[in-house]
Subunit: 141 residues, 2 copies
DNA sequence: ATAAACCCTAAACTATGGTTTAGTGCAAAC
DNA sequence: GTTTGCACTAAACCATAGTTTAGGGTTTAT
């Protein structure tokens, strides 16, 4: 028999809260999830694959309404492949941009940490502080 | 004479809106910014350095209340160096985690794109769809 | 057959990070 | 000297992404 999953199991698998899953469903991110006769959501193995994609897009910062668009394309079947590809390509570029920004800023953080780690950190910072105060004084601020 | 900057100039320099700068000031991120006799904010060259740090922390996902804590430590002078270092180290680890997650998810997006790019994409997706439907049918969903 | 553990919806609520508006003052160009 | 542009505050408003609550069924173990 094919294994199915309850909402609780899915929540644990993806480290989401149950309410988040219900919220995603309400927002149209999980239109493929069926319900049993009592109205309970029943998740199949392949449902989990698509949820993985949803979570992947969410983790890379895609807005819910755009994830919803992508899922809508998936539900339309094979004819939407070109559009899906475009959507993912665009998102990919945004993720790459995000990576770049993150790396640059991480470098700056490292620079600061190194400064704080240097032997004469206290002296340097005292000097800087004195300069800032002198600057404000000169400008009568 | 030392150059100073208006809020508009600073906004342009950092690609923030004027309201965002005022909002950051209100949230305690810019306690070092002086005001002239008319109540206008006057930004000095060294103010810009600290704002750069604020923006850097913001861009790497630090919450405003934590940026505020860091700035507060900076304002306390050289004795807070150890605490600042700890705060930045912790944040650094979080940024590295974020980078890792982003890379992993980008790989998945690339995987999807490659699938859509493959010559037999349409066939593959039709087959998958058929499987999903069969699965739901078997489970009477 | 009943308690405990699950599931459901709808709707209100929350947190975060801003943006917009209203009313007012200052500065500089014409 | 007045119009135009820029500045200020306070407070209301907004978008996004959930979380919580209230009220009510279902399933499972005892």
């Amino acid at each position: 028999m094919l294994k199915t999953y309850s909402i609780k199991e899915v929540a644990q698998k993806f480290d989401l809260s149950i309410s988040t899953i219900r919220y995603y469903d309400k927002r149209g991110l999980l239109p493929f999830v069926a319900k049993n006769k009592s109205g309970y959501r029943v998740f199949t193995e392949t449902d989990l694959n698509l949820i993985k994609t949803v979570v992947c897009l969410k983790n890379t910062g895609m807005a819910i309404k755009n994830i919803q668009k992508y899922i809508q394309l998936v539900m339309q079947g094979p004819d939407s492949i070109e559009q899906r590809k475009q959507l993912l390509e665009l998102h990919k570029q945004q993720v790459i941009q995000k990576q770049k920004l993150l790396s640059e800023n991480l470098q700056e953080i490292n620079f600061k940490i190194n400064k704080y780690n240097s032997k004469n950190a206290k002296e340097v910072i005292k000097t800087e502080l004195a300069y800032v105060l002198a600057e404000k004084k000169e400008l009568k601020l």
